[in-house]
Protein backbone atom coordinates (compact mmCIF):
# COMPACT_ATOMS: atom_id res chain seq x y z
CA UNK A 1 0.00 0.00 0.00
CA UNK A 2 1.40 3.39 -1.01
CA UNK A 3 0.19 6.10 1.30
CA UNK A 4 1.52 9.37 2.65
CA UNK A 5 -0.27 11.95 4.74
CA UNK A 6 1.88 15.04 4.78
CA UNK A 7 1.73 18.42 6.50
CA UNK A 8 3.74 21.27 4.94
CA UNK A 9 4.08 24.31 7.20
CA UNK A 10 5.96 27.58 7.40
CA UNK A 11 5.59 31.30 6.73
CA UNK A 12 3.49 32.78 3.96
CA UNK A 13 5.67 33.47 0.91
CA UNK A 14 7.99 30.48 1.36
CA UNK A 15 6.11 28.47 -1.23
CA UNK A 16 4.48 26.14 1.29
CA UNK A 17 1.19 25.85 -0.60
CA UNK A 18 2.83 25.38 -4.01
CA UNK A 19 5.12 22.68 -2.64
CA UNK A 20 2.03 20.74 -1.61
CA UNK A 21 0.36 21.41 -4.94
CA UNK A 22 3.29 20.08 -6.97
CA UNK A 23 3.30 16.91 -4.89
CA UNK A 24 -0.48 16.54 -5.33
CA UNK A 25 -0.12 16.94 -9.09
CA UNK A 26 2.67 14.36 -9.11
CA UNK A 27 0.50 11.95 -7.10
CA UNK A 28 -2.33 12.41 -9.56
CA UNK A 29 0.02 11.75 -12.48
CA UNK A 30 1.22 8.62 -10.67
CA UNK A 31 -2.43 7.45 -10.57
CA UNK A 32 -2.79 7.82 -6.82
CA UNK A 33 -5.79 9.35 -5.10
CA UNK A 34 -4.83 12.79 -3.84
CA UNK A 35 -6.20 15.71 -1.84
CA UNK A 36 -4.74 19.11 -1.02
CA UNK A 37 -6.19 21.25 1.73
CA UNK A 38 -4.76 24.70 2.51
CA UNK A 39 -5.12 26.65 5.71
CA UNK A 40 -7.23 29.70 5.04
CA UNK A 41 -8.19 30.71 8.53
CA UNK A 42 -7.03 33.29 11.04
CA UNK A 43 -3.60 31.68 11.34
CA UNK A 44 -2.95 32.72 7.73
CA UNK A 45 -3.56 36.32 8.70
CA UNK A 46 -0.75 35.90 11.21
CA UNK A 47 1.64 35.07 8.39
CA UNK A 48 1.87 31.32 8.79
CA UNK A 49 0.75 28.94 6.08
CA UNK A 50 0.21 25.22 5.96
CA UNK A 51 -1.35 22.61 3.77
CA UNK A 52 -2.40 19.02 4.21
CA UNK A 53 -1.65 16.67 1.35
CA UNK A 54 -2.72 13.03 1.06
CA UNK A 55 -1.44 10.62 -1.58
CA UNK A 56 -2.74 7.08 -1.38
CA UNK A 57 -3.88 4.13 -3.42
CA UNK A 58 -6.84 3.79 -1.05
CA UNK A 59 -9.94 5.97 -0.90
CA UNK A 60 -9.39 9.32 0.80
CA UNK A 61 -11.78 10.01 3.63
CA UNK A 62 -11.09 13.23 5.47
CA UNK A 63 -8.68 15.64 3.74
CA UNK A 64 -7.59 16.79 7.19
CA UNK A 65 -4.33 15.12 8.19
CA UNK A 66 -4.61 14.14 11.84
CA UNK A 67 -1.87 11.51 11.80
CA UNK A 68 0.92 12.74 9.56
CA UNK A 69 3.34 10.23 8.11
CA UNK A 70 5.59 13.13 7.11
CA UNK A 71 5.97 16.69 8.31
CA UNK A 72 7.97 19.35 6.48
CA UNK A 73 8.52 22.58 8.41
CA UNK A 74 10.12 25.87 7.46
CA UNK A 75 9.82 27.75 10.75
CA UNK A 76 9.89 27.17 14.49
CA UNK A 77 6.21 27.84 15.27
CA UNK A 78 5.21 25.19 12.72
CA UNK A 79 7.36 22.59 14.44
CA UNK A 80 5.75 23.50 17.78
CA UNK A 81 2.29 23.24 16.26
CA UNK A 82 2.57 20.03 14.25
CA UNK A 83 5.29 17.85 15.82
CA UNK A 84 2.73 15.92 17.87
CA UNK A 85 0.68 15.02 14.77
CA UNK A 86 3.45 12.76 13.40
CA UNK A 87 2.88 9.04 13.74
CA UNK A 88 5.61 7.05 15.55
CA UNK A 89 8.29 6.30 12.97
CA UNK A 90 7.11 9.28 10.90
CA UNK A 91 9.44 11.55 8.97
CA UNK A 92 10.25 15.12 10.01
CA UNK A 93 12.11 17.29 7.51
CA UNK A 94 13.12 20.68 8.79
CA UNK A 95 14.89 23.66 7.31
CA UNK A 96 17.71 23.82 9.85
CA UNK A 97 18.57 27.39 8.79
CA UNK A 98 15.16 28.59 9.99
CA UNK A 99 14.16 26.18 12.75
CA UNK A 100 16.39 26.73 15.74
CA UNK A 101 15.58 23.57 17.66
CA UNK A 102 15.49 19.90 16.83
CA UNK A 103 12.60 17.55 17.44
CA UNK A 104 11.44 16.88 20.98
CA UNK A 105 10.21 13.47 19.86
CA UNK A 106 12.63 10.56 19.80
CA UNK A 107 10.35 8.06 18.02
CA UNK A 108 10.54 9.76 14.62
CA UNK A 109 13.13 10.15 11.87
CA UNK A 110 14.48 13.70 11.62
CA UNK A 111 16.30 15.19 8.63
CA UNK A 112 18.00 18.55 9.16
CA UNK A 113 18.49 20.27 5.84
CA UNK A 114 20.10 23.73 5.65
CA UNK A 115 17.80 24.64 2.79
CA UNK A 116 18.48 28.41 2.84
CA UNK A 117 22.24 27.92 2.58
CA UNK A 118 21.84 25.33 -0.16
CA UNK A 119 19.40 27.52 -2.06
CA UNK A 120 21.84 30.41 -1.90
CA UNK A 121 24.44 28.19 -3.50
CA UNK A 122 21.97 27.69 -6.34
CA UNK A 123 21.52 31.42 -6.65
CA UNK A 124 18.08 31.95 -5.14
CA UNK A 125 16.79 31.59 -1.60
CA UNK A 126 13.36 31.05 -3.11
CA UNK A 127 14.37 27.55 -4.19
CA UNK A 128 14.60 26.36 -0.58
CA UNK A 129 11.13 24.84 -0.66
CA UNK A 130 11.94 22.77 -3.74
CA UNK A 131 15.14 21.45 -2.12
CA UNK A 132 13.07 20.22 0.83
CA UNK A 133 10.43 18.77 -1.50
CA UNK A 134 13.11 16.87 -3.42
CA UNK A 135 14.38 15.41 -0.16
CA UNK A 136 10.85 14.43 0.94
CA UNK A 137 10.04 12.68 -2.31
CA UNK A 138 13.39 10.88 -2.42
CA UNK A 139 13.13 9.69 1.19
CA UNK A 140 9.49 8.55 1.09
CA UNK A 141 9.46 7.28 -2.48
CA UNK A 142 5.76 8.13 -2.64
CA UNK A 143 6.28 9.14 -6.27
CA UNK A 144 9.37 8.96 -8.45
CA UNK A 145 11.56 12.03 -8.94
CA UNK A 146 10.82 11.80 -12.67
CA UNK A 147 7.09 12.18 -12.08
CA UNK A 148 7.65 15.04 -9.65
CA UNK A 149 9.84 16.87 -12.19
CA UNK A 150 7.26 16.23 -14.89
CA UNK A 151 4.51 17.75 -12.74
CA UNK A 152 6.67 20.79 -11.93
CA UNK A 153 7.32 21.15 -15.67
CA UNK A 154 3.66 20.90 -16.52
CA UNK A 155 2.12 22.96 -13.75
CA UNK A 156 4.88 25.37 -12.72
CA UNK A 157 6.10 28.49 -14.49
CA UNK A 158 8.35 27.59 -17.44
CA UNK A 159 10.90 30.28 -16.53
CA UNK A 160 11.52 28.68 -13.13
CA UNK A 161 11.67 25.08 -14.31
CA UNK A 162 15.46 24.74 -14.62
CA UNK A 163 16.01 26.34 -11.21
CA UNK A 164 13.31 24.17 -9.65
CA UNK A 165 14.78 21.05 -11.22
CA UNK A 166 18.23 21.80 -9.86
CA UNK A 167 16.78 22.43 -6.41
CA UNK A 168 14.75 19.22 -6.39
CA UNK A 169 17.76 17.20 -7.51
CA UNK A 170 19.95 18.85 -4.90
CA UNK A 171 17.43 17.98 -2.18
CA UNK A 172 17.16 14.41 -3.38
CA UNK A 173 20.95 14.22 -3.43
CA UNK A 174 21.07 15.03 0.29
CA UNK A 175 19.24 11.86 1.25
CA UNK A 176 22.02 9.24 0.96
CA UNK A 177 24.40 11.37 3.11
CA UNK A 178 21.70 12.15 5.69
CA UNK A 179 20.42 8.64 6.13
CA UNK A 180 23.73 6.78 6.36
Amino acid sequence: MASQEIVFAGFGGQGILSMGKFLAYAGMDAHLNVSWLPSYGPEMRGGTANCHVILTDETIGSPVVTRATSLLVMNGPSLDKFEHTLVPGGLLILDSDLVNRTAARTDIEVLHIPAQTLAEQLGSKKAANMILLGALVKRTGIVSLEILLQSVHEHGKATFFEANKKAIEMGAGMIPQLTH
Partner: protein, 360 residues
Amino acid sequence: MGNKVLMKGTEAIGEAAMRANCQCFFGYPITPQTEVAAYMAKKMPALGRVFVQAESEIAAIHMVYGAAGTGVRCMTSSSSPGISLMSEGISYIAGAELPCLIVNIVRGGPGLGSIQAAQSDYFQATKGGGHGDYNMPVFAPSSVQEMIDLIQEAFDVADEYRTPCMIMGDGMLGQMMEPVEFLDRQPRKLPNKDWAATGLLGRKTHNVINSLFLAPEELEQHNTHLQEKYKIIKENEVRYELFDCDRENDLILVAYGTTSRICKNVIRSAEREGILLGLVRPITLWPFPTKAFEETVHHTRFGYLTVEMSAGQMVEDVQLAVNGRAPIGFYGRTGGMVPHPDDILATVKQMVHEGVQVWH
Protein backbone atom coordinates in the same frame (compact mmCIF):
# COMPACT_ATOMS: atom_id res chain seq x y z
CA MET B 1 -7.04 9.04 -15.39
CA GLY B 2 -5.72 10.90 -18.41
CA ASN B 3 -8.34 13.64 -18.40
CA LYS B 4 -8.19 14.36 -14.71
CA VAL B 5 -7.29 17.83 -13.54
CA LEU B 6 -6.55 18.99 -10.02
CA MET B 7 -9.10 21.59 -9.01
CA LYS B 8 -10.14 23.60 -6.00
CA GLY B 9 -13.78 23.13 -4.96
CA THR B 10 -14.63 26.78 -5.52
CA GLU B 11 -13.13 26.82 -9.03
CA ALA B 12 -14.84 23.55 -9.87
CA ILE B 13 -18.17 25.17 -8.99
CA GLY B 14 -17.57 27.89 -11.57
CA GLU B 15 -16.32 25.53 -14.26
CA ALA B 16 -19.18 23.06 -13.74
CA ALA B 17 -21.76 25.85 -13.90
CA MET B 18 -20.31 27.20 -17.13
CA ARG B 19 -20.34 23.74 -18.67
CA ALA B 20 -23.99 23.43 -17.60
CA ASN B 21 -24.64 26.48 -19.78
CA CYS B 22 -25.00 28.99 -16.97
CA GLN B 23 -25.36 32.34 -18.73
CA CYS B 24 -25.32 34.76 -15.81
CA PHE B 25 -23.50 34.91 -12.49
CA PHE B 26 -24.34 37.53 -9.89
CA GLY B 27 -22.48 37.59 -6.60
CA TYR B 28 -20.80 39.45 -3.81
CA PRO B 29 -17.49 38.31 -2.32
CA ILE B 30 -17.37 36.48 1.00
CA THR B 31 -14.88 33.98 2.43
CA PRO B 32 -14.67 30.99 1.93
CA GLN B 33 -16.16 31.08 -1.57
CA THR B 34 -14.85 34.29 -3.15
CA GLU B 35 -12.87 32.24 -5.68
CA VAL B 36 -16.16 31.23 -7.31
CA ALA B 37 -16.82 34.85 -8.22
CA ALA B 38 -13.16 35.38 -9.16
CA TYR B 39 -13.27 32.39 -11.51
CA MET B 40 -16.52 33.57 -13.09
CA ALA B 41 -15.23 37.13 -13.44
CA LYS B 42 -12.28 35.80 -15.40
CA LYS B 43 -14.10 33.30 -17.60
CA MET B 44 -17.70 34.40 -18.20
CA PRO B 45 -17.12 37.65 -20.15
CA ALA B 46 -14.69 35.84 -22.48
CA LEU B 47 -17.56 33.51 -23.41
CA GLY B 48 -19.90 36.45 -24.01
CA ARG B 49 -21.79 35.63 -20.81
CA VAL B 50 -22.70 37.85 -17.88
CA PHE B 51 -20.75 38.37 -14.68
CA VAL B 52 -21.85 41.09 -12.27
CA GLN B 53 -20.34 41.82 -8.90
CA ALA B 54 -23.41 43.21 -7.21
CA GLU B 55 -23.39 45.92 -4.54
CA SER B 56 -24.71 43.45 -1.95
CA GLU B 57 -26.05 39.92 -1.58
CA ILE B 58 -29.59 41.31 -1.62
CA ALA B 59 -28.94 42.92 -4.98
CA ALA B 60 -27.27 39.76 -6.30
CA ILE B 61 -30.22 37.47 -5.54
CA HIS B 62 -32.67 39.91 -7.09
CA MET B 63 -30.51 40.07 -10.21
CA VAL B 64 -30.83 36.29 -10.25
CA TYR B 65 -34.61 36.70 -9.92
CA GLY B 66 -34.67 39.01 -12.94
CA ALA B 67 -32.38 36.89 -15.11
CA ALA B 68 -34.21 33.67 -14.23
CA GLY B 69 -37.45 35.35 -15.31
CA THR B 70 -36.09 35.57 -18.85
CA GLY B 71 -35.49 31.82 -18.86
CA VAL B 72 -31.69 31.82 -18.95
CA ARG B 73 -29.69 29.63 -16.63
CA CYS B 74 -28.29 31.76 -13.86
CA MET B 75 -26.77 31.46 -10.41
CA THR B 76 -25.29 33.09 -7.38
CA SER B 77 -22.85 31.87 -4.78
CA SER B 78 -22.26 33.00 -1.22
CA SER B 79 -21.53 31.86 2.30
CA SER B 80 -23.76 31.74 5.36
CA PRO B 81 -24.24 35.44 6.32
CA GLY B 82 -24.69 36.25 2.63
CA ILE B 83 -27.33 33.54 2.22
CA SER B 84 -29.23 35.02 5.19
CA LEU B 85 -29.36 38.31 3.29
CA MET B 86 -30.54 36.48 0.18
CA SER B 87 -33.33 34.58 1.90
CA GLU B 88 -36.02 37.14 1.08
CA GLY B 89 -35.16 36.90 -2.61
CA ILE B 90 -35.08 33.10 -2.50
CA SER B 91 -38.64 33.10 -1.11
CA TYR B 92 -39.73 35.40 -3.98
CA ILE B 93 -38.03 33.15 -6.54
CA ALA B 94 -39.71 30.06 -5.06
CA GLY B 95 -43.04 31.89 -5.07
CA ALA B 96 -42.58 33.02 -8.67
CA GLU B 97 -41.46 29.48 -9.60
CA LEU B 98 -38.21 30.42 -11.27
CA PRO B 99 -35.30 28.04 -11.84
CA CYS B 100 -31.86 29.08 -10.58
CA LEU B 101 -28.89 27.79 -8.62
CA ILE B 102 -27.74 29.11 -5.26
CA VAL B 103 -24.45 27.88 -3.83
CA ASN B 104 -23.83 28.11 -0.09
CA ILE B 105 -20.29 27.33 1.06
CA VAL B 106 -21.20 27.24 4.73
CA ARG B 107 -19.07 28.87 7.44
CA GLY B 108 -19.50 28.97 11.19
CA GLY B 109 -22.32 31.06 12.66
CA PRO B 110 -24.47 32.61 13.99
CA GLY B 111 -23.86 36.20 12.98
CA LEU B 112 -20.58 36.89 11.24
CA GLY B 113 -19.30 33.80 13.04
CA SER B 114 -16.06 32.51 11.55
CA ILE B 115 -14.70 31.67 8.11
CA GLN B 116 -14.08 28.00 8.88
CA ALA B 117 -16.11 25.03 7.63
CA ALA B 118 -19.50 24.37 9.27
CA GLN B 119 -22.85 22.74 8.54
CA SER B 120 -24.97 24.97 10.71
CA ASP B 121 -27.16 26.28 7.86
CA TYR B 122 -29.06 22.99 7.56
CA PHE B 123 -32.27 24.41 9.03
CA GLN B 124 -32.03 27.51 6.88
CA ALA B 125 -31.53 25.46 3.72
CA THR B 126 -34.05 22.70 4.31
CA LYS B 127 -36.81 24.29 6.37
CA GLY B 128 -37.08 27.51 4.41
CA GLY B 129 -34.71 30.37 5.24
CA GLY B 130 -37.24 32.84 3.88
CA HIS B 131 -40.94 33.23 4.57
CA GLY B 132 -43.88 31.24 3.28
CA ASP B 133 -44.63 27.60 2.54
CA TYR B 134 -41.79 26.78 0.23
CA ASN B 135 -38.98 24.27 -0.09
CA MET B 136 -36.12 23.91 -2.49
CA PRO B 137 -34.00 20.91 -3.43
CA VAL B 138 -30.71 21.05 -1.51
CA PHE B 139 -27.75 18.99 -2.70
CA ALA B 140 -24.82 18.22 -0.40
CA PRO B 141 -21.72 17.00 -2.25
CA SER B 142 -18.90 15.30 -0.35
CA SER B 143 -16.11 15.65 -2.91
CA VAL B 144 -15.04 18.12 -5.55
CA GLN B 145 -16.05 15.63 -8.25
CA GLU B 146 -19.49 15.22 -6.75
CA MET B 147 -19.77 19.00 -6.51
CA ILE B 148 -19.32 19.16 -10.28
CA ASP B 149 -21.80 16.37 -10.97
CA LEU B 150 -24.45 17.82 -8.66
CA ILE B 151 -24.16 21.35 -10.03
CA GLN B 152 -24.99 20.12 -13.50
CA GLU B 153 -27.81 18.01 -12.08
CA ALA B 154 -29.15 20.87 -9.93
CA PHE B 155 -29.53 23.14 -12.97
CA ASP B 156 -31.59 20.41 -14.64
CA VAL B 157 -33.74 19.82 -11.55
CA ALA B 158 -34.31 23.59 -11.29
CA ASP B 159 -35.50 23.77 -14.90
CA GLU B 160 -37.60 20.62 -14.72
CA TYR B 161 -39.59 21.75 -11.68
CA ARG B 162 -39.25 25.54 -12.02
CA THR B 163 -37.64 25.84 -8.60
CA PRO B 164 -34.54 27.36 -7.05
CA CYS B 165 -32.00 24.67 -6.11
CA MET B 166 -29.21 24.93 -3.60
CA ILE B 167 -25.78 23.33 -3.48
CA MET B 168 -24.67 23.25 0.14
CA GLY B 169 -20.97 22.68 0.70
CA ASP B 170 -18.67 23.84 3.44
CA GLY B 171 -15.46 25.79 3.65
CA MET B 172 -13.36 22.66 3.46
CA LEU B 173 -14.96 21.39 0.26
CA GLY B 174 -14.61 24.86 -1.20
CA GLN B 175 -10.93 25.19 -0.38
CA MET B 176 -9.58 21.69 -0.99
CA MET B 177 -8.16 20.45 -4.29
CA GLU B 178 -8.94 17.03 -5.71
CA PRO B 179 -8.55 15.45 -9.13
CA VAL B 180 -11.73 15.83 -11.15
CA GLU B 181 -12.99 14.87 -14.54
CA PHE B 182 -15.56 16.73 -16.60
CA LEU B 183 -17.45 13.95 -18.31
CA ASP B 184 -20.02 14.43 -21.01
CA ARG B 185 -23.35 13.86 -19.41
CA GLN B 186 -26.78 13.25 -20.82
CA PRO B 187 -28.92 16.24 -19.83
CA ARG B 188 -32.52 15.58 -18.78
CA LYS B 189 -35.33 16.06 -21.22
CA LEU B 190 -36.55 19.44 -20.08
CA PRO B 191 -39.82 21.26 -20.73
CA ASN B 192 -39.80 24.39 -22.92
CA LYS B 193 -39.62 27.64 -20.97
CA ASP B 194 -42.83 28.99 -22.50
CA TRP B 195 -43.43 30.92 -19.26
CA ALA B 196 -40.33 33.12 -19.65
CA ALA B 197 -40.67 36.90 -19.93
CA THR B 198 -38.95 37.34 -23.28
CA GLY B 199 -41.30 39.75 -25.05
CA LEU B 200 -44.54 38.88 -26.84
CA LEU B 201 -42.89 37.00 -29.71
CA GLY B 202 -46.19 36.85 -31.63
CA ARG B 203 -48.25 35.84 -28.60
CA LYS B 204 -51.36 37.80 -27.67
CA THR B 205 -50.81 37.86 -23.91
CA HIS B 206 -47.83 38.81 -21.80
CA ASN B 207 -46.06 36.26 -19.65
CA VAL B 208 -46.27 37.65 -16.15
CA ILE B 209 -43.86 36.53 -13.44
CA ASN B 210 -44.94 37.40 -9.96
CA SER B 211 -45.18 36.10 -6.42
CA LEU B 212 -48.05 38.40 -5.41
CA PHE B 213 -51.55 36.91 -5.19
CA LEU B 214 -53.74 39.34 -3.29
CA ALA B 215 -56.91 37.26 -3.39
CA PRO B 216 -56.63 34.59 -0.68
CA GLU B 217 -58.42 32.04 -2.88
CA GLU B 218 -55.83 32.53 -5.58
CA LEU B 219 -52.90 32.37 -3.19
CA GLU B 220 -54.23 29.21 -1.60
CA GLN B 221 -54.58 27.67 -5.03
CA HIS B 222 -50.99 28.69 -5.81
CA ASN B 223 -49.81 27.14 -2.56
CA THR B 224 -51.70 23.93 -3.30
CA HIS B 225 -49.96 23.80 -6.66
CA LEU B 226 -46.55 24.37 -5.02
CA GLN B 227 -47.21 21.62 -2.47
CA GLU B 228 -48.18 19.20 -5.24
CA LYS B 229 -44.94 20.05 -6.98
CA TYR B 230 -42.92 19.48 -3.80
CA LYS B 231 -44.62 16.09 -3.41
CA ILE B 232 -43.45 15.06 -6.87
CA ILE B 233 -39.92 16.28 -6.10
CA LYS B 234 -39.97 14.21 -2.89
CA GLU B 235 -41.00 11.15 -4.88
CA ASN B 236 -38.48 11.57 -7.70
CA GLU B 237 -35.42 13.44 -6.55
CA VAL B 238 -34.27 11.87 -3.27
CA ARG B 239 -30.60 10.91 -3.33
CA TYR B 240 -28.45 9.16 -0.77
CA GLU B 241 -25.54 6.79 -0.41
CA LEU B 242 -25.54 3.70 1.79
CA PHE B 243 -21.95 2.86 2.69
CA ASP B 244 -21.19 -0.52 4.30
CA CYS B 245 -24.90 -0.94 5.06
CA ASP B 246 -25.18 -4.31 3.30
CA ARG B 247 -24.32 -6.12 6.54
CA GLU B 248 -25.58 -6.40 10.12
CA ASN B 249 -23.94 -3.38 11.74
CA ASP B 250 -23.41 -2.52 15.38
CA LEU B 251 -24.24 1.10 14.64
CA ILE B 252 -24.99 3.25 11.61
CA LEU B 253 -23.52 6.74 11.26
CA VAL B 254 -25.53 9.48 9.56
CA ALA B 255 -23.53 12.32 8.00
CA TYR B 256 -23.29 14.42 4.85
CA GLY B 257 -20.65 16.50 3.07
CA THR B 258 -17.20 16.78 4.64
CA THR B 259 -18.39 15.07 7.83
CA SER B 260 -19.36 11.95 5.87
CA ARG B 261 -15.77 11.69 4.60
CA ILE B 262 -14.48 11.74 8.16
CA CYS B 263 -17.06 9.08 9.08
CA LYS B 264 -15.74 6.80 6.34
CA ASN B 265 -12.32 6.97 8.05
CA VAL B 266 -14.00 6.15 11.36
CA ILE B 267 -15.70 3.10 9.83
CA ARG B 268 -12.30 1.68 8.86
CA SER B 269 -10.68 2.30 12.23
CA ALA B 270 -13.72 0.84 14.06
CA GLU B 271 -13.43 -2.32 11.95
CA ARG B 272 -9.88 -2.79 13.26
CA GLU B 273 -11.36 -2.80 16.76
CA GLY B 274 -14.08 -5.27 15.84
CA ILE B 275 -16.94 -2.77 15.63
CA LEU B 276 -19.06 -2.81 12.48
CA LEU B 277 -20.37 0.53 11.32
CA GLY B 278 -22.39 1.63 8.31
CA LEU B 279 -23.06 5.10 6.96
CA VAL B 280 -26.21 6.73 5.67
CA ARG B 281 -25.09 9.73 3.62
CA PRO B 282 -27.89 12.06 2.53
CA ILE B 283 -27.00 13.64 -0.83
CA THR B 284 -30.24 15.59 -0.98
CA LEU B 285 -30.88 17.25 2.38
CA TRP B 286 -34.30 18.28 1.07
CA PRO B 287 -35.98 16.08 0.13
CA PHE B 288 -34.56 14.13 3.09
CA PRO B 289 -33.82 10.46 2.32
CA THR B 290 -36.32 8.90 4.75
CA LYS B 291 -36.16 5.76 2.62
CA ALA B 292 -32.54 5.17 3.63
CA PHE B 293 -33.75 4.55 7.19
CA GLU B 294 -36.50 2.14 6.09
CA GLU B 295 -33.75 0.13 4.44
CA THR B 296 -31.38 0.14 7.41
CA VAL B 297 -33.42 0.38 10.61
CA HIS B 298 -33.58 -3.39 11.10
CA HIS B 299 -29.88 -3.89 10.37
CA THR B 300 -28.31 -1.91 13.21
CA ARG B 301 -27.94 -3.26 16.76
CA PHE B 302 -27.58 0.03 18.58
CA GLY B 303 -29.33 2.44 16.23
CA TYR B 304 -27.85 5.54 14.62
CA LEU B 305 -25.23 8.15 15.46
CA THR B 306 -25.68 11.46 13.65
CA VAL B 307 -22.45 13.38 13.13
CA GLU B 308 -22.51 17.02 12.09
CA MET B 309 -20.60 20.27 12.12
CA SER B 310 -23.57 21.87 13.86
CA ALA B 311 -25.40 21.57 17.16
CA GLY B 312 -27.55 18.77 15.76
CA GLN B 313 -29.80 20.32 13.13
CA MET B 314 -30.15 17.19 10.98
CA VAL B 315 -30.99 15.02 14.01
CA GLU B 316 -34.62 16.14 13.86
CA ASP B 317 -35.01 14.72 10.35
CA VAL B 318 -33.31 11.50 11.44
CA GLN B 319 -35.71 11.25 14.38
CA LEU B 320 -38.72 11.74 12.09
CA ALA B 321 -37.41 9.10 9.69
CA VAL B 322 -36.58 6.55 12.39
CA ASN B 323 -39.81 7.36 14.24
CA GLY B 324 -38.86 5.80 17.53
CA ARG B 325 -37.78 2.46 16.10
CA ALA B 326 -34.11 2.78 17.12
CA PRO B 327 -32.00 4.90 19.48
CA ILE B 328 -30.35 7.97 17.97
CA GLY B 329 -27.16 9.53 19.30
CA PHE B 330 -25.44 12.70 18.26
CA TYR B 331 -21.88 13.98 18.01
CA GLY B 332 -21.23 17.45 16.70
CA ARG B 333 -18.70 20.26 16.65
CA THR B 334 -19.56 23.89 16.01
CA GLY B 335 -17.97 27.22 15.22
CA GLY B 336 -15.71 25.93 12.46
CA MET B 337 -14.25 23.06 14.48
CA VAL B 338 -13.99 19.83 12.47
CA PRO B 339 -14.87 16.53 14.21
CA HIS B 340 -11.78 14.41 14.92
CA PRO B 341 -12.11 10.76 13.90
CA ASP B 342 -10.89 9.61 17.35
CA ASP B 343 -13.61 11.60 19.10
CA ILE B 344 -16.31 10.15 16.84
CA LEU B 345 -14.95 6.67 17.52
CA ALA B 346 -15.00 7.29 21.27
CA THR B 347 -18.68 8.21 21.00
CA VAL B 348 -19.33 5.11 18.90
CA LYS B 349 -17.77 2.96 21.62
CA GLN B 350 -19.93 4.56 24.29
CA MET B 351 -23.03 3.61 22.36
CA VAL B 352 -21.85 0.12 21.41
CA HIS B 353 -20.06 -1.01 24.59
CA GLU B 354 -22.08 0.80 27.21
CA GLY B 355 -25.34 0.74 25.28
CA VAL B 356 -26.02 4.35 26.18
CA GLN B 357 -27.68 6.92 24.01
CA VAL B 358 -25.19 9.77 23.82
CA TRP B 359 -25.63 13.39 22.98
CA HIS B 360 -22.45 15.47 22.68
